[in-house]
């Protein structure tokens, strides 16, 4: 796990998958990112990251239901794996330690 690092967008996607808690698939992830972060993401970009995270073993997926508005095609629902949770925790700890390491003086100048 120590060799695995998360890119900024990868981290966001894993966090959103965790937030959606069982209802995370590409379209709902895009909507959630747009609503929470006001960030427009293409379907291609999200699919690429989801596939990469799944290959890394940080997400797992299974087919969900098919609906009429999807033309009868099933969704692929994503979940965070145990390893994904570990790396999220690790990233959070690292970020917090970096924030805490900033001398107070650095921000007083601005």
């Amino acid at each position: 796990m120590s060799q695995k690092t998360l890119g900024e967008f990868e981290e966001i996607v894993i966090l959103i998958v965790a937030i959606l808690n069982g209802d995370a698939y590409s379209v709902s992830i895009i909507t959630e990112i747009d609503e929470r972060l006001n960030r427009n993401v293409s379907l291609g970009a999200i699919q690429t990251v989801l596939k990469r995270l799944e290959n890394k073993g940080l997400l797992k997926s299974e087919f969900g239901d098919a609906t009429n508005e999807r033309g009868g095609k099933r969704k692929r629902l994503y979940e965070v794996t145990a390893e994904g949770q570990k790396i999220l925790d690790h990233t959070r700890v690292q970020r917090n330690s970096l924030w805490e390491a900033i001398p107070r003086l650095s921000f007083k100048l601005y």
Binding site: S26, L43, K51, F63, E69, K75
Partner: protein
């Protein structure tokens, strides 16, 4: 009309089905349809269709295409074969046109002018393209033969009329 409004661009969807790796096709096609459906409610059919095409084009990337072997497995093979056949037909037409050009260098009996080459070129290439359309659109062997023979008979009659004038039309040659 109402039916059309519920469907995204067929060309874009065909393109997507061609390049997308079969393993991802169902889920991503569903995503595309769901987004199209949302866009339609929000912006109407035309803009939804444009956004759908944009989605399809932006999706064309290595992670979605996967390995390229599947691209030659499905209808792509047929398209490649059709294109090979078209090139063969056009090459044959050009080769036939070159015959009098070469013959002119060796004998005075053949004396074509630029207009002759132009007309012959239009006739031969036109016939070749029509034959290709017939072969692409008609799948029954019997009708292929029937339409093919008709096409060649028409070509020969026009050629003969232009060359020696068998019907006496204003375009008849002498």
């Amino acid at each position: 009309m109402k039916r059309r409004e519920n469907k995204p661009s067929r060309i874009a969807m065909t393109f997507f089905n061609w390049y997308c790796h079969p393993e991802f096709r169902e889920e991503i096609e569903g995503d595309l349809m769901e987004r199209f459906s949302t866009y339609s409610l929000k912006y109407g059919h035309n803009k939804a269709n444009r956004l759908f095409i944009k989605d399809v084009l932006f999706m064309f990337r290595p992670s979605i295409v996967g390995n390229i072997y599947h691209l030659t497995n499905t209808d792509t093979m047929e398209i490649t074969n059709q294109n090979k056949r078209l090139i063969t037909i056009l090459a044959t037409a050009i080769a036939l046109l070159l015959t009098p050009l070469i013959a002119m260098n060796f004998t005075n009996d053949v004396n074509w002018k630029i207009l002759d080459f132009l007309v012959a070129g239009i006739l031969l290439i036109g016939t070749g393209l029509t034959l290709e359309i017939i072969l692409r659109k008609i799948k029954t062997l019997r009708y292929r033969i029937l339409f093919g023979i008709t096409l060649f008979v028409v070509l020969l009659l026009i050629w003969a009329e232009l060359a020696v004038g068998i019907f006496g039309t204003p375009f008849a040659g002498s």
